[in-house]
Amino acid sequence: MAKDELAKEFKYIGTRPDRPDGFDKVTGKAKYGADVAAVGMLHGAVLRSPYAHARIKSINFEKAAKLDGVKAIVTRDDFPVGIDGDTLKLLENTIAGEFAYYDGHAIAAVAATSVHIAKEAINEIEVEYEVLPHVIDVDEAIKPEAPVVRENAGDFSVPEGCSPNVASYIEFGIGDINSGFDKADLVKSGRFKTEAAHQGYIEPHACMAQLDHDGQGEMWVCTQGHWYIRQMCASVLGLEASKLCVTPSEIGGGFGGKTTIFIEPLALALSKKSGGRPVKIVMSRAEVLRATGPTASASMDVKIGITKDGYLTSGLVEFRMQGGAFGGSPVSEALQCAFASYNMPAVHHIGYDILANRPRAAAYRAPGSPMAAFAVESLIDEICTDLNLDPIDVRLKNAVKEGDKSSYGPKFKKIGLIETLEATKDHPNYSISLGDNQGRGVAAGYWMNHGGETSVSVSLAEDGSVNVTVGTPDIGGSRASIALMTAETYGIPYNSVRVNIAETGALGFNEPTHGSRATLASGKAVYEAANQTISEMCKRVAKKWQIDPDAVLWDNGYAKPAGPNAGDFSPISIKQIASEMDQTGGPIAGHHEASIRGVGHSFGVHIADVEVDPETGRITVLRYLVAQDAGRAIHPSYVEGQFQGGAVQGIGWALNEEYVYGTDGCLQNAAFLDYRIPVASDLPNIDTVIVEVPNPDHPFGVRGVGETGIAPPLPALANAVAAATNVRLRSLPMSPAKVLKAIKTGSDGC
């Protein structure tokens, strides 16, 4: 669609109607993963490794099987052999084979007539372990002499001489970084570390599964993407995908963590082994923290050159990221995000994906970007302080714009970083004066966004209302945004559109609601599908008027003659066309399937004001501003919600959240009391500015807004703390004890 059309006035887009699923969600009616039951249903429980690394010598479940009410027990022996590659990693993570690779790794699962019996049975299973050496810390794991997590885990990309725990290696760049550093007036470098953080969705993983011996099965799962669940379950169990019907429940948060399988294949296997009875498994919070998610921990070296008037000349990053026992840290995404906000003549990126005896890292909101932002944006802030330059001005001088080559290669189309920086500079928060022990930090962040495989359908009801069917679960209001785009396309009231999230049998393949793609991709596909039905309606009206279909146009819910030459006919409403469709050729429906193109890159800039208590090291966030380019905000309230939620997850990662391991390699804080996500009393209001530089490749200008907001808080808060205390913290989280030590010694030791 041409750019000039993007400036047009919208009737529904940009308004803030009630979300269609609001009533169900404020009354307790909405059904989440654990909220269903079936006749004859069994309850599952999972036995998990108490060791960080161990050989499983034997599993004896005779006693457990004899308990009254135990109907099935599965171990790795109940899963197919001969699987390799990524599917083998998925299976290994679902249920351990010869080795348990982390504290919490699933060993066996039981189905019984009650949860209590299932848990009792778990305790009766006898496992003989041979405990093996383990490694937890990323910098320890990369040492050549480190305990080996998995033999032969390195792929073809790993250079010779690396630690056996290096799973993959990547290197890329542009320009000559050495000549770039030569041209700089100041070259600064630093090492930064971030701990693993969990996605922290409040709803634990839950599913109910039923699988018959003929290979047909059904599942009810809380997931961001039920086609992924179907594909992964089918591949690890050796099932035919189309025979597995997966229905997504309402989902109680995901943030990337619910894009893969954990308990789902166990529930299917238990169901099959118990003669096809439905089996429900619900994780405890401790299981969620020990065995799902989290994101990677990172150790990062950054070197940046700058001229004295603030132009970045060269940048080098080496990121080492630990993504658990099977690899898969988001190190390449982190590298792509590292310098993406800046137009620099030379950058070079080196990345290592490293194994450790920790749970398999899952995607977490803008995977890799927050760590990269912490390292790069912190160092840029140090440079601004050294050269006495305004941090927003420096970013404005170097900001990427349309036509610039990104730091990872491809040229940017229309983007809105400069507009976003200007919005923060103009915002009153940037000029409020600060008191003693208070400081202000600025940081930018980036996410590339994602289109992905998408299928939707649209059908006209007989009264002229419209059913939209999409495959992207609604985590944060996407039913509302899709209904708004549908209403806009037809020119019918928002309330005349009903958006359904369909099970896997009802549509073609859909990627999950991930990568900030639901509103962008399902929205674009619905626009296409709706326009098919509009063409069909115009055709039917043309027949009625006995004129050429091209002589009928669609305008605001009505078919009209395209001009005076088309004839003198009164417009016909969608209501009338729909009421007559059984007489004019039958149902009117449209569908669209595509790998959605035309994603729009997303940039955000945050400003954090903090106060640091010099006696306790406690950081109080005084005020917080998020400005981000949304492209166009379809439902501004939910766009703000994404900005605020992302920012607060970043604040938690920066200040409180971390995985704490004992010397035994076991997780010590597998509860919300100890893995402390931000609570309401920790926070101020999160102020927002929605910048709108429409994405020219989307019918409504959408970029995708979900992810970027989690990246800037990590450096923005570290920068604010540095301004408040004159001490630079280079490792997260900035817990009170660490801050206090840093204030006393001048450094956090990183």
Partner: protein
Amino acid sequence: MTKIHVKTNINGDKVEFLADPRETLLDCLRDHIGLTGSKEGCGTGDCGACSCIFDGDLVSSCLVLGVEAEGKSIETIEGMAGEKELHPLQKKFIEMAALQCGFCTPGILIAAKALLDRNNDPTESEVRYWLAGNLCRCTGYDKIIKAVMETARDIRETA
């Protein structure tokens, strides 16, 4: 384990159920009575998703045993709306987009109602501290706090 016969009152209705003495009130509400609006996010009283009113007190129902409900009066999210319309907090939460995934919403609404029933003129700090036991991972709390403050103002104005 032998089950115990429990007679209680839930959202104004007399209810009887058989509880395994190990079961929490939350288990009983969800599994025996079919009231799945109260959620389990942690099972350890940290997240507040299972918040209920127990004889007038705000509790985490995952920390109350089901058998303790004997002779008590319990209010859950399912009883919050009136017959004709939603509670003002429910309406305001929808209107102000104070929910995203909606999983913590029942617990937060119950807790917020408990606050406004006691104090219809809370400061923002009071609201933030009152709700500090209710975790929300999606919203950053901003719109939740504003929705509670606005509802309190509406209640004061109509009172």
